[in-house]
């Protein structure tokens, strides 16, 4: 039984306040952002960001040092009745990743807002503050030139035909609430050890992600958001059907308890029902993870959203539902018949890799190319599932798990960097067309370098995280004897190289303006061309993290130990489920006054 916490009688482990803070703080920040108005809203979220990063790293350090997961029993009611938040190696690793990327995106959004305000010639604070409680419409500053952060990536060309809107208060106020909600939902998803808590966490994630897509307010973005919302809700209902069947057959919702109940020894539960539950829940989550053929909502949704929203969506939100599938398969994976379904998932993953990359190669819009690249990279997350449930070879399972996690993490960093860089490139080029990117190499070399580094990490060149992920995934798939999967993994890397080369060649081409010196450059005034230092640093930083993630994967266990961090305890060694506490002695009973 894990060590008792300092406060007497509480069954949670020492680190409990850390993980509670990681869930409660972002939600409190979201509520604060709703309560306070815009300037204070962004301040509330920006203030909570460093604290959350600190908490995430502290939780990871604690899990590493003690070697056992942090468990926090909510309200001192133990499973099966109560809920346990359990942060094991996988959970803390993903929380650290979420904290880093979310705070980077927050800084990027703040910098974009400041820049948007600066370009509108108003002091950063002034036009953003409120017109007080009076309902009068805020007087729109005359013909503001470039939209705010979320206004379709700060469109550069004249705002002429767009109605002279007020400072983009709607978009930025909403963005900060949604950012905090996504952050809280993801943290809860990574440490929830209860099937229904996972459902609620994913619903919060979806309801925060859909408005992110709608921030641009343009018809295609709204249509994409509607499709995403309807499919996600259908997926949630399928997931709930799975939860109902699991509860119906086992009477428990806690993952550790379920693993205990279906351990090979006990044969109480009907295996067929559990397998159907697993299939229903997995399909429900596949809709949200946009695995081919359920991918159609992702490209328009992610490409239509403003750059920082797309970065959040592609890097993190998609990983939330994948993580739920991973948890389900780590718990219920060894149900008989699971192996065939796992191979089917791997086959879908392989199709996703090839189809996503091929379509990305054919796109003409830069953001759509990056979005289709997400569809392809999601395929990598499912390729190792057959090895994951290969109960026979535990080393194979850990390799598959570490490969999948590393792929998720390095893709998160690389895709965040690529979407932010793409946003800046498109903002400068004025049009979201790859062939309009000419001259980007000369004008924005560092942003170009960041996009290229992110691409190289996706291709899987050492020392990037992508390389180690491919290395481990290849070992896992070959271990299972699935050569067609191994070759698909490699083909994915080559195709990623192909569509990256296409963008890099377009950026390297001579810009039309450079050729005809006299032609007026349509892009926004010079001030808007070179993105400020902070945004460039953020984009480059994210790309470099993805590129040098490989070192973290190699560093020996006792140091940073990503290898151990990414190891979730194989199912059989789960510590005994925390038995129901004996009803506490006198203190409660006496004080109970009959209502």
């Amino acid at each position: 039984m894990s060590a008792l916490a300092a406060s007497v009688g509480t069954p949670s482990t020492a680190g409990a306040p850390l993980i509670v803070g990681l869930v409660a703080l972002p939600m409190a920040a979201a509520l604060a952002a709703v309560l306070l108005r815009r300037r204070a809203a962004s301040a509330a979220v920006l203030l909570s960001a460093p604290i959350l990063v600190g908490l995430a790293f502290a939780a990871a350090a604690m899990v590493l040092s003690t070697g056992s997961p942090i468990e926090c029993v909510l309200g001192a009611w133990k499973p099966p009745l109560g809920i346990v938040l359990r942060a094991d190696g996988l959970g803390t690793a993903m929380m650290v990743v979420t904290a880093t990327i979310a705070s980077a995106v927050a800084l990027f959004a703040a910098a974009t807002e400041r820049r948007g305000a600066a370009m509108r010639g108003t002091a950063p604070g002034s036009s953003l503050n409120d017109a007080g409680a009076t309902p009068g419409p805020a007087d729109p500053p005359p013909g503001d030139h470039s939209g705010g952060p979320a206004e379709a990536g700060g469109e550069a060309d004249g705002g002429g035909e767009r109605q002279p809107d007020a400072a983009p208060e709607r978009a930025s106020a909403t963005f900060w609430v949604l950012l905090a909600s996504v952050w809280g939902a993801l943290n809860l998803t990574f440490i929830a050890n209860d099937l229904f808590t996972l459902f609620v966490a994913l619903e919060l994630l979806t309801f925060a992600a859909v408005p992110l897509v709608c921030l641009a307010g343009t018809p295609p973005a709204l249509r994409a958001a509607l499709r995403y919302l309807l499919l996600a809700m259908a997926g949630s209902m399928l997931y709930l059907l799975g939860v109902a069947l699991v509860y119906g057959s086992l009477g428990a919702l806690d993952l550790s308890l379920i693993a205990e109940l279906i351990a090979p020894g006990t044969d109480s539960a009907p295996r067929g029902v559990l397998l159907l539950a697993l299939v229903l829940a997995t399909t429900g989550m596949l809709v949200k993870t946009a695995l081919v053929p359920l991918h159609a909502w992702l490209p328009p949704a992610h490409a239509g959203a403003p750059p920082q929203a797309s970065a959040l969506l592609s890097a993190l939100v998609v990983k939330g539902s994948w993580f739920v599938i991973l948890r389900l398969w780590l718990t219920l994976g060894e149900v008989p018949g699971g192996r065939t379904v796992a191979f089917a998932l791997a086959a879908l993953g392989a199709v996703a890799i090839l189809f996503g990359s091929a379509t990305a190669l054919r796109q003409r819009s830069l953001k759509l190319l990056v979005a289709w690249s997400t569809v392809a990279q999601i395929g990598y997350l499912f390729v190792a599932f057959p090895a994951l449930v290969a109960a026979a070879a535990p080393t194979l399972a850990t390799e598959a798990l570490r490969g999948g996690m590393l792929q998720a993490i390095s893709h998160a960093f690389a895709k965040a960097a690529m979407f932010l860089a793409a946003g800046l490139l498109v903002e400068r080029a004025g049009r979201d067309r790859i062939d309009a990117l000419g001259g980007a190499f000369r004008r924005m070399p560092i942003i170009f370098a960041a996009f290229a580094i992110g691409g190289l990490s996706l291709m899987g060149l050492p020392p990037s995280g992508g390389f180690w992920a491919k290395w481990l995934l290849l070992q896992a798939t070959i271990g299972v004897g699935a050569w067609w999967l191994a070759l698909t993994i490699l083909a994915g890397g080559v195709l990623a190289g192909a569509y990256l080369l296409r963008v890099l060649r377009a950026c390297g081409a001579e810009a039309p303006a450079d050729l005809g010196a006299d032609r007026a450059v349509v892009a926004a005034p010079a001030a808007a061309i070179a993105p400020d230092r902070l945004r460039t640093a953020i984009v480059l930083g994210l790309a470099l993290v993805s590129m040098f993630l490989g070192f973290a994967a190699m560093v020996p266990a006792e140091r940073c130990g990503v290898r151990r961090l990414l190891r979730s305890e194989p199912i059989t060694q789960l510590d005994r489920p925390i038995e129901v506490l004996p009803p506490p002695s006198t203190p409660h009973g006496a004080a109970e006054a009959a209502p």
Binding site: G153, G159, G160, E161, P220, L230, M233, P300, A303
Partner: protein, 176 residues
């Protein structure tokens, strides 16, 4: 045939009907109705399972009931958000955009609307295609949907929708 099994069969039927309705209809409101039927079916399954878990003191297990209450509220929030998006699209007269209508004739995602290269001078105050990110990049179709109109739901421009091939950046369309 206890009430639990009867209602569980009923819930299975409702799930089937809900899924069928969701995937059959084009009209977003009909899809939301079908989604709610699917939700009702799912929660009815929880109810049947709760009923099976009845104990002498309780007619049905409280834990699934609590889950259903939470689920119903979440499903309602989802429906409200979906309806708001539909209302917004209706206000923009953009309900059935390129990826709205069914069938394979929906233009493929690759060819942009304006193949004809335009030099900068003809782009006027802001060409419909020039809008960054949001519109032209969005929609898995790179295609121009109905020409742009003021965001406050101005009247429909009365011209048949432009096919995706013909460039529509003419100045006359601008400045409604």
């Amino acid at each position: 045939m206890t009430s639990a099994t009867l209602f569980s069969l009923c819930s299975a039927a409702l799930v089937g009907i809900g899924l069928f309705g969701l995937l059959l209809h084009q009209d977003p409101l009909r899809r939301i109705v079908a989604l709610n039927v699917l939700g009702a079916g799912t929660f009815l399954l929880f109810g049947a399972i709760a009923r099976r878990g009845a104990v002498d003191g309780l007619p049905s297990d409280p834990v699934p009931q609590a889950m259903v209450i939470t689920g119903v509220v979440v499903a309602f929030a989802g429906s409200a958000l979906a309806v708001s998006i539909v209302r917004r699209l209706a206000a923009l007269d953009a309900l059935d955009g390129p990826d709205g209508p069914d069938g394979p004739d929906a233009p493929s995602s690759i060819e942009p609307s304006d193949d004809a290269p335009r030099d900068a001078s003809a782009r006027g105050s802001g060409d419909s295609d020039g809008e960054v990110g949001g519109k032209s990049g969005a929609g898995s179709t790179g295609v121009d949907d109905a020409p742009r109109r003021g965001v406050n739901g101005g009247a429909f421009d009365g011209r048949p929708r432009r096919s995706s091939i013909e460039p529509d950046g003419r100045a006359s369309m601008e400045g409604r």
